[in-house]
Amino acid sequence: MTQDFTPTEMMTIAAARALTNDDVCFVGIGAPSAACNVARLTHAPDITLIYESGTIGTKPDVLPLSIGDGELCDTALFTVSVPEMFRYWLQGGRITTGFLGGAQIDRFANLNTTVVGPYDKPKVRLPGGGGAPEIASNCGQIFITMALTNRGFVDHLDFITSMGHGEGGDHRARLGMKTKGPTRVITDLCIFEPDPVTRELTVVSLHKGVTREQIKENCGWPVRFATETVETPVPTETELSVLRDINARTKRAHEAA
């Protein structure tokens, strides 16, 4: 028995499902944070969530607004300094999965969160990379969540903030990276995975009720579909209620203080 759900809810829940109990997950803010905590509160209770502020094994009751909210430290197994986080834990190769979002993505899952327009004379100055450049190269694999829009899924990035599969093919390996890079891009309409050879993002799963036309219209490059695509299983009642509960608790908390 399934309820109605929004595309954003589908995106978050599909992302949550990609995580397992054994994952040690470097969590970004926004959709990744919701997905990771839904995973923790449903099928992956033993997942280890790490935020770049230094909090390791955190179990927030409400989603943080920033990556350094007090809730993250209060519920963590322990908290380390930021240099230690980036040196021993991320660069140290201890993170299985990094979760990223971005303002723009290209077909090889490179991300831009730095500038629209030229770097020296930007049309829009975005916040910048933060942890992303090294999350992208040092985590075992990368999941990306972003709503599928023409503005976000673009044919050409003005700036590569963090490298996904670069120019495609074996580009990562050629640069000496031993990690997998982006293995899944979860949107509000569908799920992409990189083609095993070209590494171009390819639609492998369409969310319920979404058409190929809708996906094509919302993607800034001529989108490819896998030979066989499936329909993303709709959210279960448990998944939906866990997600809605944590969102409601979060809203109350952030508006109060």
Binding site: S66, G68, G130
Partner: protein, 286 residues
Amino acid sequence: MAKICTLSEAIEENVRDGDTLAMEGFTHLIPYAAGHEIIRQNRRELFLVRMTPDLIYDQLIGVGAARGMKFSWGGNPGVGSLHRFRDAVENQWPRPLEIEEHSHAAMANAYEAGAANLPFAMLRGYIGADLAKVNPNIKSVTCPFTGEVLAAVPAIRPDVSIIHAQRADWQGNVLIEGITGVQKEAVLAASRSIVTVEEIVDELNPPSPNAVVLPRWAISAVVHVPGGAFPSYAHGYYARSNAFYIAWDKIARDRDSFTAWIKANVLAGKPEDFARHAVRRAANAA
């Protein structure tokens, strides 16, 4: 040796026009009261260093105190843009802002190298990332044993670093708890340093032998400014005002409303104004 003094004295004595200034606190313990005092004392031509400029540097940039900034993530966390930062970069208002942009990993390593008195930091970083193309301060170094090439960035060595902490004792030893970010490194990397604290106590009483402590002889000035991290937070004292972070978006979006806010809340303010935020409550209280 730490001098225990007023915020006005501490800024007067330690922050100079043209300084490279690091005010750290990774979301937690951001030294807002000190930032306001710098604005009141009208320091100019500062080169700002901070991983996440946050509202504190949006304010310093908006009043035109900064000639440049080194940073790694310039947004309003969980909310959106830092509008004063964007206005400076996109429209040079109120003045142009030279930027040196890094990744978090590089900034964290650069502070760490500064604390360790090394001239540069190395990391497995910036691979395939365009920042290395636009920032001449991203170079490389080759491992003399394996031949592997690593990214290299200059160590951060501020003229002065400012942080906020939970408490100090009367000798000036400081305890920091919770998300400690790069605060210890920022202080140890700097020539001079100021620590504002929630409390000054007779006995520091760290909860563990391995607590994060800065000894009095590594600090220039310690200042009692309860609430001094608001709208950021102090673990064990008061929670982050996420509501203020959300409200800032509207205040800072417009030049006039920003200027009016600075006039009313900073120029007409004083360090003691922060005390009303220092109500002791669980840091995770809503």
